[in-house]
C-alpha cells in the first residue's frame, strides 16, 4: 500500500485504508477504505455477515487486520487491544450494553478511571466529572446516584455514551444503538448525536435500518461480502438504492409470490389485551394468506404473538384458533395446530447444546417408536428430510445446533414448525440475524407454505409474521397491519400501502382510518 502523502490527513478524524481480514479460508474484509471527518456522522450499513462487525473490531483493536493502515487525525493508529483504542479516543457503544447494573450512574461513568489518592477514591471529583458528562443529556432520570438497573434502556445507553465522553472520545462508534429503544428514546438519541456532531465529534453509526440512516447520517457506506460496494451522501441516494446495494440484487427477485388462494378464517382475535401489551388487537387470518404485522420495536408485536401462543397471559379479548376458542397454554397450542418461531433464537428458540434432531422434534416426540418410546434413529430419519429440504448445512442430525451458523440455526427452528406440521405459523422476526441466502430461503418457504400444493396434498397454511423490516413485509405479505403503542391498526391489502404510509402509522403520525 502506497502512502498518499499529498492528502491532508489531519482534516480527517479517522481513516481506515486497505483493511483486509481473513478467517481461515473466508474473506471477512477485502481492501476496505473508510474516512470520517469531525462533525460528521458516517453510517455503515450492510446485511449480517457483510463485515461491519469485523471492521469495527479492527477499529477497536479487538481483531488485528491482515493488511491495511489506520490514522487518527493524521497520526498512525495501531491499537493492539480495546483498552488502547479507548485511550486513543475511539469509543464503542455496542448493542448489548456493558454496564454494571448494581452500581450507580457516577460509578459506572468513572469505572476503571476513578481518581484516587493513595488508593482512596476522590468521590467529589467522581461526582463532578460524572455530572459534567450527563448534564447535557437533560434527562431527569439521570442523576449521579441513580442505580443503573433502575434506569430505562434508553437512559442506560446514555450512561454508556457519558462514559465515552468522560474519557474524551474523538470517534464514537454506535453499533445498532436503537434496536432496543422506544421511539421517544430513539428521537432523543438522534438529537444527542446531532449535538455531539456540533461539538466536533466524528460518529460512526451502524444499522440495518435504512430509515434511521436517512434520518441521522450525513454519509453512508454500504458493505457487502466484506467489500465497500457503495458510498454516497445520504441526500443523494434513495432507500431502495441502498437496499439493492446491500442485498446485491434487485429487490423483487428476493420475494417469490406464487398464486395464493385465501381459504377459511383459521385464526380470529378480537380486542385481545395482555397484561401491559398488547392493549387491543383484532385480526382475522385465513389459510393461504400471509399477514404481516409491522411497527416499531416495543410496540407490542412480540407480546401479541406470545399471548396468542400462551407464553404470556391474556387479560381480555377473544381468540379463536380453528375450532378452539379462548386462551391456551403452549402445550395446547401445538396440539391445536399452531407453532411459534421465537424472535430470540439463542435464548428461546433453540436448545443450543442439543442436536439438530432433538431441536426439530422437541415439540412432538410422538411416532418415533413403539409404546411411546423415542428411538433416536427414527428422530434422525425424520430430521434428515428437513435437512435436505431446507438445505441445513450440518454434518448430520446429531450435530449440536450451537455449532451451526445463524442462518442454519434459523432453518432448524423453522424445521420444527414443519415437522410438527402446524396449520398456523406465528413467525416473530423470521429473518433476524441471518444472511441473505438464508433470508431468500425463508421467503421462498413462506411462499410455498402459504400457497400449499393441492397436487401433493399439502394444504395451504396461514402465516402471521412480525417483522421490523418493511421491504420484507411488503415483499412477502398479502395483507399488513401496523401496531403502534400496543394497539393493532386495521389490516391493509399490500397493494394499497407503501413503506412510507406504514412508517407514519407506526409512529402514530397518521390517525389510522
Amino acid at each position: 500500500m502506497v502512502e498518499r502523502v499529498d492528502f491532508d490527513r489531519s482534516a480527517v478524524r479517522l481513516e481506515m485504508q486497505g483493511i483486509c481480514k481473513r478467517f481461515g479460508a473466508t474473506v471477512a474484509l477485502e481492501d476496505v477504505d473508510i474516512k470520517v471527518a469531525p462533525r460528521e456522522v458516517l453510517a455503515l450499513v450492510g446485511e449480517n455477515g457483510a463485515g461491519k462487525s469485523t471492521l469495527m473490531k479492527v477499529l477497536s483493536g479487538a481483531v488485528k487486520a491482515d493488511a491495511g493502515q489506520m490514522w487518527l487525525e493524521g497520526v498512525p493508529y495501531r491499537p493492539s487491544n480495546p483498552l488502547e483504542a479507548r485511550r486513543a479516543g475511539v469509543a464503542m457503544i455496542y448493542q448489548e450494553l456493558s454496564l454494571t447494573p448494581h452500581l450507580s450512574v457516577q460509578e459506572n461513568i468513572m469505572l476503571g478511571m476513578e481518581p484516587t489518592t493513595l488508593g482512596v477514591v476522590r468521590w467529589k471529583e467522581v461526582r463532578r466529572r460524572a455530572i459534567e458528562a450527563i448534564e447535557e443529556f437533560e434527562n431527569p432520570e439521570l442523576t449521579p446516584d441513580a442505580r443503573v438497573s433502575k434506569l430505562s434502556v434508553g437512559s442506560q445507553q446514555l450512561v454508556e455514551i457519558a462514559r465515552a465522553l468522560a474519557i474524551g472520545c474523538r470517534v464514537l462508534v454506535l453499533d445498532e444503538p436503537t434496536s432496543s429503544l422506544t421511539q421517544q428514546d430513539v428521537e432523543r438519541l438522534f438529537e444527542l448525536i446531532g449535538r455531539l456532531k456540533q461539538q466536533g465529534k466524528a460518529v460512526v453509526y451502524i444499522s440495518h435500518f435504512i430509515e434511521e440512516v436517512k434520518c441521522v447520517a450525513d454519509r453512508v457506506v454500504v458493505l457487502r461480502d466484506g467489500k465497500v460496494v457503495g458510498s454516497s451522501n445520504v441526500a443523494a441516494i434513495t432507500t431502495d438504492e441502498i437496499i439493492s446495494l446491500m442485498v446485491g440484487r434487485q429487490v423483487e427477485e428476493l420475494y417469490p409470490r406464487s398464486s395464493r388462494q385465501a381459504g377459511e378464517v383459521i385464526l380470529e382475535i378480537e380486542d385481545l389485551a395482555g397484561v401491559e401489551k398488547p392493549e387491543s388487537a383484532s385480526l382475522q387470518l385465513r389459510r393461504g394468506e400471509v399477514l404481516g404485522i409491522s411497527g416499531l420495536v416495543g410496540a407490542g408485536r412480540t407480546e401479541l404473538l406470545r399471548s396468542l401462543f400462551g407464553l404470556e397471559p391474556v387479560r381480555k379479548g377473544k381468540i379463536r384458533l380453528g375450532v378452539y376458542t379462548g386462551p391456551a397454554s403452549p402445550v395446547r397450542r401445538w396440539v391445536q395446530g399452531a407453532g411459534l418461531l421465537s424472535e430470540d433464537r439463542k435464548e428461546e428458540g433453540l436448545a443450543l447444546s442439543l442436536s439438530v434432531a432433538d431441536n426439530v422434534t422437541l415439540s412432538k416426540l410422538k411416532g418415533f417408536g413403539p409404546l411411546g418410546l423415542v428411538l433416536p434413529s427414527r428422530q434422525d430419519r425424520a430430521t434428515r428430510r428437513w435437512i435436505e429440504r431446507l438445505g441445513i448445512l450440518c454434518l448430520g442430525p446429531r450435530q449440536p445446533v450451537s455449532s451451526l451458523s445463524g442462518g442454519n440455526q434459523q432453518r432448524v427452528a423453522l424445521a420444527r414448525l414443519l415437522q410438527h406440521d402446524v396449520d398456523v405459523l406465528l413467525l416473530d422476526e423470521p429473518t433476524r440475524g441471518i444472511d441473505v441466502a438464508a433470508k431468500a430461503m425463508v421467503y421462498r418457504l413462506i411462499d410455498e407454505l402459504a400457497s400449499g400444493s393441492p397436487a401433493e396434498g399439502r394444504a395451504a397454511k396461514a402465516i402471521l409474521m412480525v417483522s421490523s423490516y418493511l421491504p420484507e413485509l411488503m415483499g412477502v405479505c398479502d395483507r399488513v397491519a401496523v401496531m403502534c403503542r400496543g394497539r393493532l391498526g386495521p389490516t391493509h391489502r399490500i397493494a394499497e400501502v407503501d413503506e412510507h404510509k406504514l412508517m407514519l402509522e407506526a409512529t402514530g403520525q397518521e390517525a389510522s382510518t
Binding site: G49, L311, E348, L350, L362, L365, L373, G406, G407, A438
Partner: protein, 336 residues
C-alpha cells in the same frame, strides 16, 4: 454471522458423535487409570476379587442416589436434601419393622415412599412458588433431617434381628454357597435400575424433555414441554432413589439412624459431576455418574489398603473432583 461459520465448524461437528462417546469414555478412562494406579502401588489385597466386591458394595448407596441426582442435574437443578432423605428412609424402614410390625417388603416400600413424598414437596415448591432448587432443597435438607430425628425421638431405632430377614442380606457379602451371584442383590438392583434409568433418559419423552429443560428451559416451554410437571417428576424420582439409597444404608447398618449420611449429597453430586454432568444442565449420563461414584470408592478403598489416613483420602478426592471438572471444561472449550 453467515454460512461461513458452518465451514469452520465442521471440525467441531466431526466430533459430535465422538463427543457423546468421549463424555462417557473420559470418566471410564479415569476410573481405569485410578484403579491401575492402586494395583501398582497398593498391597496385593487391593486387586482381589473380594476387594472388588467390597468396592461394588460400598458404591451402592451413593450410586443409587446418583441415579436420581443425574436426572436432577441434567434438567438444570440440584438436590441438597439427598443425605437427609437417606437417613429418613432408614428411620422409616426401622420404625415400620419394629413398631408397625410389617414385613420387610412393606417396610422397604414405605421407606422409599416417604422419601419420594418429600421429593414431591420439593418439586412442588420449586415449580409453584418459583424458588430455586438450591434454596428449596437446602431447606428440605433440614426439614427432612428434623422429621427423621422426630420419628426416632432423636435416637437410633434398633430392629430385632428376626424381623430383618432378607433386608439384612441386600448389601452383605455374598456367602460361599451363592458365589454365582458375584455381588449381593443390592448391587444387582443398582445395575438393573441404572439400565432402566439410562433407557428412560434416552428413549422416552420424559428423558428427552429432561435434557431439553436443562439445555434451555425457555425453548422447552416454547415447544410445549410441560416443564413444571417434568421437574416435579424428576425431583420426586431423585428423592425416591435417595430412599433406595437409604434402604441400602439400612441393610448395611440394620438400624434406623437419623444422624447417618450427613454430607452424602455432596458425594452424590460429585459422582454426577465427575461422570460428566454439568451443573448448568443439559449434560450428564447414568453410566458416567456410576463411574464417578466408583472412582471415589476406589480411591477410598485404595487409600485404606495402603494404610493412608482418612485426611489424605479427603484431599485426594477433593482434588479429583475439581480436576475432573476442569478437564471436562477444557475439553468443551476445545470442541466448541
Amino acid at each position: 454471522m453467515s454460512d461461513r461459520e458452518s465451514s469452520l465448524s465442521e471440525k467441531g461437528a466431526f466430533g459430535s458423535n465422538w463427543r457423546s462417546w468421549l463424555n462417557i469414555l473420559g470418566p471410564v478412562l479415569g476410573l481405569a487409570v485410578v484403579y491401575e494406579l492402586f494395583v501398582l502401588i497398593a498391597p496385593p489385597s487391593f486387586a482381589t476379587a473380594r476387594n472388588m466386591e467390597t468396592i461394588a458394595r460400598q458404591t451402592t448407596i451413593v450410586g443409587m442416589a446418583a441415579l436420581g441426582m443425574t436426572l436432577v442435574i441434567i434438567c438444570g437443578g440440584i438436590d441438597l436434601s439427598v443425605g437427609s432423605i437417606v437417613a429418613l428412609s432408614t428411620v422409616v424402614i426401622a420404625w415400620l419393622l419394629q413398631h408397625a410390625g410389617v414385613g420387610p417388603l412393606t417396610a422397604a416400600v414405605g421407606g422409599v415412599a416417604a422419601a419420594a413424598f418429600f421429593g414431591l414437596i420439593s418439586g412442588l415448591v420449586i415449580t409453584r412458588l418459583r424458588v430455586v432448587p438450591f434454596i428449596v432443597t437446602l431447606g428440605m435438607m433440614l426439614v427432612v433431617r428434623g422429621v427423621a430425628k422426630g420419628i426416632g425421638r432423636e435416637q437410633k431405632i434398633d430392629v430385632d434381628p428376626e424381623r430383618l430377614r432378607w433386608l439384612e442380606e441386600l448389601l452383605a457379602s455374598v456367602p460361599k454357597e451363592r458365589s454365582w451371584m458375584m455381588v449381593p442383590a443390592g448391587v444387582w438392583l443398582l445395575v438393573l435400575l441404572a439400565i432402566a434409568m439410562a433407557a428412560l433418559l434416552r428413549y422416552t419423552r420424559l428423558g428427552r424433555h429432561t435434557f431439553a429443560i436443562g439445555s434451555n428451559e425457555q425453548t422447552a416451554r416454547l415447544c410445549g414441554v410441560a416443564v413444571e410437571r417434568v421437574k416435579i417428576i424428576v425431583f420426586t424420582l431423585c428423592a425416591a432413589f435417595a430412599g433406595l439409597g437409604g434402604l441400602m444404608q439400612f441393610s448395611r447398618l440394620t438400624v434406623g439412624d437419623p444422624t447417618v449420611a450427613v454430607g452424602v449429597e455432596l458425594d452424590v453430586i460429585a459422582a454426577v459431576v465427575i461422570g460428566g454432568g454439568s451443573l448448568g444442565g443439559g449434560e450428564g449420563s447414568i453410566l458416567g455418574s456410576l463411574v464417578g461414584a466408583l472412582i471415589m470408592t476406589v480411591i477410598a478403598s485404595g487409600c485404606t489398603q495402603m494404610g493412608l489416613p482418612n485426611w489424605v483420602q479427603e484431599i485426594i478426592t477433593g482434588a479429583i473432583i475439581v480436576g475432573a471438572v476442569a478437564l471436562d471444561r477444557l475439553r468443551h472449550r476445545r470442541a466448541a
